[in-house]
């Protein structure tokens, strides 16, 4: 039995990525593609691929692998693949096209990604992402994605938080939707061709592992309740992020950790679970009935100015009556070079700082007002209302719809909200997890963004993974297939089915006093309070105790009405919340063990004199990959930490500065 640290976890062997070829970084991907084995076109049809998720990562992968001739089975929990949460992305997608000749390049995008991630991402993966980015735009345009164009008919760009070049492609405020429709249509084309089989309203609840390899999944048909076995030669999880562990987030209601957590329980390491991104520009919480938070694209920061009153005495005043000299444009003041365009983690934390000082605006939540102004008055004066409307009209409408206030007249109120999870399943350069034959793509993996993701870089990563990376790396894996067929009644299959059935049965039979949502809300509060924007030793320890005792109550006192054999939304939610409970504990342990601050992980014990995140590169320049060690439903044994050292051969580690 290895020694327990803090009574919470133990230390295991180091791990490393062995898949990136040992050549200069600019040649790696070309070399890898060449080295990856080929599959004869006539053999492809005999090889089957399960893809869980139809977002940009899963949808793009399904379309491309289908097109290549493999037999693809695609799963999503919504009623159509087109509704995956990628659809909600507003702002844009980055690509190193350098159309504006403003000094952009693959190398600069690579550099910005690594720096933005506060030097906690793997160089090889981040470089490939930048390298592939230009192809993504070509692909999407060819599919008919209606990106914004200038009057000359060429593609238009804007700049996004944390960088100084304009490399973001966009489709008004609906970039995610337009990209997703492109991927969805490409995938539907393959459905018609018969290469992709589509399973909607299906929730994956378990991975099937035979002889150490991922060979299928157990899914529940959410309409009939039937538990189904699906077998394949390889399994891809592209199931999105786990921000809903916080209950309130900008994620869709159904976003969950179940797919990746079930894989984690079966041997896939989970990397950096505590790296969660809080987005600075969301609409503040209005009441305790609130079911989700709404993001306002951070493109608003290009023309809007963020401020709070200088004095606490002014917070209840009509903002229009507060004269210029009594306003504190705190980002412009503290970060003159980047101003309102500082990276997200800084923008968010500074909003918290001014609200903690009692200078927040809007209604009181608890003891504080949690809101800051995002003001377009000067933009309207400079550009005219029409121009502002053309650029941001739909965002303004959305704001008005939700708050009932007119942002052309009164400054908007914003506050940070949970938005994105950099953590996820550990993968190597090939996007393969620690379980052979199990791949993870998109937000579900941990790979490219380190401790903080730059705006407009997730869509890029998802499409890079789906269109370009996976199809190349999976082929290498499949070249050694088709594998020995697995029988539907093989012991491993029956065991996976039984796990699923027992769990459903258990959730339905507890019949306690509290609803699933009430547990989820309370869990979310704990995680937000103690593992949110700012973390410290005492709070994290307290959080672990709170999560454990609430989880214990959940398994004793939750009430899940209805039956297993019909459409049952309470049951669906219960399963997801049960997995969030386990994930939450791992997030706390990860955050507690990392006593440095980096990117979005801000430990109050580790900050510079100016209150910025202070890294400890000697101790923490590694990826924390956690291994599950056992435990019945609802409990888990102390996990094992495996470190992957981050070696920087091309980019020099620096203290980030956006001053």
């Amino acid at each position: 039995m290895p020694e327990l640290i803090d009574n919470l976890y133990s230390l295991g062997d180091q791990i490393e990525d062995t898949r990136a070829p040992d050549v200069p970084i600019a040649e790696m991907w070309t070399k890898a593609k060449f080295d990856n084995k080929l599959v004869n076109p006539t053999n492809r049809r005999k090889l089957s691929v399960i893809i869980v998720g139809t977002g940009l990562a899963g949808g793009a992968a399904a379309a491309t692998l289908g097109e290549a001739g493999y037999h693809v089975k695609s799963f999503c929990y919504q009623d159509s693949p087109r509704r995956a949460h990628s659809v909600a992305a507003q702002g844009g997608i980055n690509a190193a096209k350098n159309y504006n000749d403003d000094g952009d390049s693959i190398y600069r995008l690579f550099y910005d990604t690594v720096k933005g991630g506060d030097y906690r991402s793997r160089e090889s993966n981040s470089y490939r992402l930048a390298e592939v980015s230009a192809n993504i735009i070509d692909q999407c345009v060819a599919q008919g994605v209606p990106f914004a164009r200038d009057y000359g008919g060429l593609l238009d760009n804007r700049s996004f938080g944390g960088v100084q070049v304009a490399r973001t492609f966009y489709a008004r405020g609906q970039t995610g939707q337009q990209l997703l429709i492109g991927a969805y249509q490409a995938m539907e084309r393959q459905v018609a061709e018969g290469t992709v089989e589509q399973f909607t309203r299906h929730e994956m609840l378990e991975v099937i592992i035979v002889d150490g390899k991922a060979r299928g999944i157990i899914a529940r048909d959410m309409v009939t309740g039937e538990i189904e076995t699906h077998l394949a030669d390889v399994v891809v999880l592209a199931s999105g992020g786990y921000g809903n562990v916080f209950y309130l987030s900008t994620n869709a209601m159904g976003c969950n950790v179940t797919a990746t957590w079930r894989a984690h329980r079966k041997g896939a390491y989970f990397a950096n679970p505590c790296y969660t991104q809080i987005h600075p520009t969301c609409i503040p919480v209005a009441g305790d009935y609130q079911s989700k938070l709404t993001l306002m694209s951070e493109s608003l920061r290009n023309d809007g100015r963020i401020w709070v009153p200088k004095s606490r005495d002014d917070v209840e005043k009509d903002p229009r009556d507060i004269p210029e000299e009594d306003r504190d444009y705190y980002l412009e003041r503290k970060y003159p070079a980047f101003g309102n365009l500082v990276p997200r983690d800084i923008g968010s934390r500074q909003a918290k700082v001014v609200c903690d000082e009692g200078r927040g605006v809007g209604p009181k939540v608890g003891d504080f007002r949690r809101g800051v102004y995002l003001d377009f008055a000067s933009a309207i004066e400079r550009m005219g209302e029409e121009a502002v409307k053309a650029k941001y009209g739909n965002l303004f409408d959305m704001y008005q719809q939700i708050t009932g206030e007119n942002p052309y007249e009164v400054p908007m109120r914003i506050y940070p909200a949970v938005h994105y999870t950099m953590g996820g399943l550990w993968v190597d350069y090939n996007l393969e997890t620690t379980v052979p034959g199990l791949f993870a793509a998109g937000e579900a993996n941990f790979s490219d963004h380190g401790a903080n993701r730059l705006g407009a870089s997730s869509l890029m990563q998802c499409l890079s993974d789906g269109y370009f990376v996976l199809p190349n790396t999976i082929r290498d894996y499949l070249a050694s297939g088709p594998f020995e067929p697995v029988a539907e009644d093989a012991p491993e299959v029956l065991e996976a089915r039984k796990t699923v059935e027992d769990r459903i049965e258990k959730l339905l039979s507890i019949n306690g006093d509290r609803t699933v949502d009430s547990f989820h809300k309370e869990l979310g509060n704990i995680v937000w309070e103690y593992c949110g924007m700012e973390r410290n030793d005492a709070g994290l320890r307290k959080g672990i105790d709170l999560v454990r005792s609430l989880r214990e109550e959940f398994w004793r006192n939750v009430k899940v009405p209805g039956s297993a054999t019909t459409l049952n939304q309470s049951l669906e939610k219960a399963g997801r919340v049960a997995d969030f409970f386990e994930l939450a504990e791992l997030m706390f342990i990860d955050a507690l063990h990392r006593t440095e601050s980096c990117g979005c992980h801000f430990r109050s014990e580790s900050q510079t004199e100016d209150g910025e995140a202070l890294r400890d590169d000697d101790k923490f320049a590694y990826v924390a990959a956690w291994e599950f060690t056992g435990g019945d439903e609802g409990t888990f044994e102390p996990p094992v930490l495996h470190k992957e050292d981050l070696v920087y051969n091309f980019i020099q580690l620096k203290q980030r500065s956006y001053k």
Partner: protein, 244 residues
């Protein structure tokens, strides 16, 4: 505010359905319509009754998952999705009737949930531009006039919610179809398949039991993304041209 809800309850596709009355109290006007239903469902669960099944996911008006006929109007009284509708659009003491989309082509699944997979099959029939991954040319080699790009975008904003079908007395899917035909037809990339696309998609539309279009305009009035009625004229023009 206090409200009376009349909600369609139906335990499955073949079961008998009925409107059931539920009073709800202390509704805040800042709540969204679906949050109001969440509160009702929490109460029902506490009282050992089965909560009302309804669809939603993004709750930002973009995924197209939410639906609901609210007092006979698809997505309710405002030009938006049900998830973006807020209770300030209603008044104290009101009775609100909530029903599922009703259309032959959208069979009922449970309570307020219907099956809209017919839309996916229409897209499968031809709602795409055929281009292999990796085979695309440099993006800026292709210029698109701004007004065309804008129109393509405006029609590409369709979220596939089905409100147009629910609002149409004939349960026609022509607005949905016209939006896709116009989006792809405005772009130079979409020309090669323009003729075959419209024919295949219309055939699939008809095979799915959607009704015909009589130009009543209810679809466009109900559409949360304000897809204009003239996409249907575009659809008809393209169809006639393709057939001739």
């Amino acid at each position: 505010m206090n409200l009376t809800l009349k909600i369609w309850r139906q335990s499955g596709p073949d079961a008998q359905g009925e409107l059931v009355t539920y009073p709800v109290n202390d509704v805040s006007e800042d709540m969204s319509f679906l949050e109001m239903l969440d509160v009702l469902n929490e109460d029902l669960t506490a009282k050992d009754e089965e909560p009302v099944a309804f669809d939603s996911d993004c709750r930002e008006g973009i995924c197209g998952m939410c639906s609901l006929m609210i007092n006979g109007e698809a997505h309710g009284p405002e030009v938006t999705t049900t998830c973006q509708l807020h209770m300030r659009s209603f008044s104290d003491g009101e009775t609100i009737t909530i029903e599922p989309w009703r259309a032959q082509a959208f069979p009922l699944v449970k309570d307020l949930i219907v099956d809209r997979s017919a839309f996916d099959r229409i897209i499968q029939a031809g709602g795409y531009i055929s281009v292999k991954t990796g085979a695309a040319v440099e993006a800026n080699n292709l210029q698109v006039q701004k007004h065309k790009a804008d129109r393509a975008f405006d029609t590409a904003t369709c979220i596939g919610c089905g409100a147009c079908v629910a609002a149409c007395p004939n349960a026609s899917g022509m607005l949905f179809l016209g939006a896709k035909i116009t989006h792809l037809g405005e772009l130079p990339q979409g020309q090669a398949e323009r003729d075959s696309r419209v024919v295949k998609m219309i055939n699939q539309h008809d095979a799915e039991d959607f009704g015909g279009c009589q130009n009543l305009g209810e679809c466009s009035a109900a559409c949360p993304k304000e897809i204009p009625l003239n996409v249907i004229s575009q659809l008809n023009r393209d169809f006639i041209k393709a057939k001739s």
